[in-house]
Amino acid sequence: MFRYQSLEDCPLDEDEDAFQTLGEEDEDIDQFNDDTFGAGAIDDDWQEAHERLAELEDKPATARELEDGAVSDEMELLGHHEENLAERLSKLVIENELEDPAIMQAVQTQPPMQQPGGLNSSIWDGSAVLRRFRGPLLTQNSSLLGHPFPPSVTPVFTHLQRAQLLGGAQAGRMSPSQFARVSGLVCSPLTSMNPKLLQGRVGQMMPPASRFRAFFGAPPPPAPPPSQQQHPLCPGSHLQNLRPHPQVFRPDTTHLHPQHRRLLHQRQQQNRTQHRSLNGSAGDRAGHRSSHHEQLRKDPYANLMLQREKDWVSKIQMMQLQSTDPYLDDFYYQNYFQKLEKVSAAEEMHGDGPKKERTKLITPQVAKLEHAYKPVQFEGSLGKLTVSSVNNPRKMIDAVVTSRSEDDETKEKQVRDKRRQTLVTIEKTYSLLLDVEDYERRYLLSLEGERPALMEERKQKICDMYDNLRGKTPGQERPSDDHFVQIMCIRKGKRMVARILPFLSTEQAADILMATARNLPFLIKKDAQDEVLLCLLRPFSLVLYHLPSGTVTSLLQQLANLPQSATVPAPANLHLAAVLQNKFGLSLLYLVLSRGEELQNSSAAVELMQDNQWTELMSMATRELLRIPEAALAKPVSTPSNLLSLFSRYVDQQKLNVLETKLQLVQGIR
């Protein structure tokens, strides 16, 4: 018999309850690195461990006793490799803990053997031999496998691995491997169904060890599993030392929301009961379960992915749902659900009662943690060593920025650069716009005291946006529209201006309108491909209705491209002509005219009527309208109804009729 300490008395049967509580442990997926390289790594005394294993070497005979007549292949293996047994065992123990259930134990010293089932699952072969020894740990398994191994062999491992685990746990870390192992045990009934598919997991090897986890792992289980009491003192003393230690709290993101954890366990239990019943019952309990069983029988490759692996993936998914700002990270879903809830609340108000129970995805909000990065410091080193890491990248190349001299640049490059500058401006302004649009929501969520500050911020941002649009100049005047026109040449710029307009003050908005009108033919030409100018109509019309008459006149002036002082109008006003031939231009003109007409009809109209400029402009406009052939005239978005009365003031009946037909001013004609 092997010489081992009092651990031999560990009963190796499974205890379902224990595993349940074990399953409630947290998993720290982010601890991979730490487990492998850092503080979480096992700092076993390898020499000790090795000595213990060396004892194994003295008992190769026992290995032979383990052979059964069951499978000749396996027997051969055992025979061949008993010398290497210790080697492999030591490799198994000392090598990395199994962190990821997807990471295979790389214990490969023999060539892959052909499984009797025809499955060439050579990846499992390495553990094939080892698995033999673990058989008896799972009594259910052993009955299926038919290998009655003496329990004597196993505890040596388990002792070592227990030590490993304890060492690992002492560091206060819980690696996903521990979770994986636990779940592996949970799933063992499943694996026993597929004896051919060798599940050479570490998880299967260490049920007693993992039972200890329950003490220092999760919050203490409600009732300690009865099997615990039978455990000898030795590991118990470890436990007693550990118990009073508080659990190390990790950053929030690695803890599962309680609801998520519950879901996970529900599923685990479901699967367990499913498989248990399949195992235990002679017949099939329920139809769907039988089909599941059927499926597994027909498809020999089914369930290559273990349930615990699936749970591991869903656990990651659940963790990914945690966010510091759901509104930012998950905007569309949150909005969608708010809308749904509003609808159902409205329905409820009508006294119909709750219509539907909508299950909402739980996106737990996690507090943002401030991480102060402290560079790694090595003890006993002279001075500070520069260690480059993700948080602290080291400068590898001394790249020097050389700015190109102006003469070298070609015209093309200059144009390109200018365009790029404009694009950058658009992007910056767009971010400001999105922020400003969001202020309403923030306002509602904020406290009373914060609100003035928020308003200030908002105002400031609006100013910045306007400055960006018009191009900041040191002086008071904005002599050139160039900046603005550049922005307006780009599709995104136009859309952005349409969105910004509602936030600007009347003067600022009027300014924008003027600039647009002034450069309209150019913009029309540039817009030929995009045809986005139309999006500006709505905000423009809204602005128009706030404008005083003087501004309206100037606006019309701009449209007609007349300088402030009246000059002799040219026979054909090209500016206006271009405007009229474009849908947007014509629609805008109509809007302006319509507004003018409205103003005339109102009390403040007196000034307008007396305004020579307006009269002149009107006559110019009508002249142009008459001159342009009908075919060239664009189709406006909408024709205001008061245009007829407007024109009637300035033209005689004959021309009025012509205008009527041409512009389809009378509703009936269309």
Partner: protein, 133 residues
């Protein structure tokens, strides 16, 4: 039963036959055996299906491990409806030949188009040289 509404997970899809479209245009059909958090896939008994017109051909490929970022889309294949298709299956050699012919025809027409434009003094700018926003 989706216990996480509003999310998509491949866990329910495991051990089922899937059609996977990759970024390089290949179509793979196989049993989805394993996944991970990046949607890396392990496909079993995979077959690469090449479609040309109304014909298709299957090339058996064995086991595929696909990196998640290369998947455009994937969907479960209904085994009952699988054979219910107007497409005609042909041999591998034939489909490869058809594919080659199709590629050639496309190149020819492209060449002609470019030639015609060049004669008229026009050129279609390549996508990478477009400065369009």
């Amino acid at each position: 039963m989706n216990y996480m509404p509003g999310t998509a997970s491949l866990i329910q899809d495991i051990d089922k036959k899937h059609l996977v479209l990759l970024r390089d245009g290949r179509t793979l059909i196989g049993y989805l055996r394993s996944i991970d958090q990046f949607a890396n896939l392990v496909l079993h008994q995979t077959v690469e299906r090449i479609h040309v017109g109304k014909k298709y051909g299957d090339i058996p490929r064995g086991i595929f491990v696909v990196r998640g970022e290369n998947v455009v889309l994937l969907g479960e294949i209904d085994l009952e409806k699988e054979s219910d298709t107007p497409l005609q299956q042909v041999s591998i050699e034939e489909i490869l030949e058809e594919q080659r012919v199709e590629q050639q025809a496309k190149q020819e027409s492209e060449k002609l188009k470019v030639q015609a434009l060049k004669e008229r003094g026009l050129s279609i700018p390549r996508a990478d040289t477009l400065d369009e926003y």
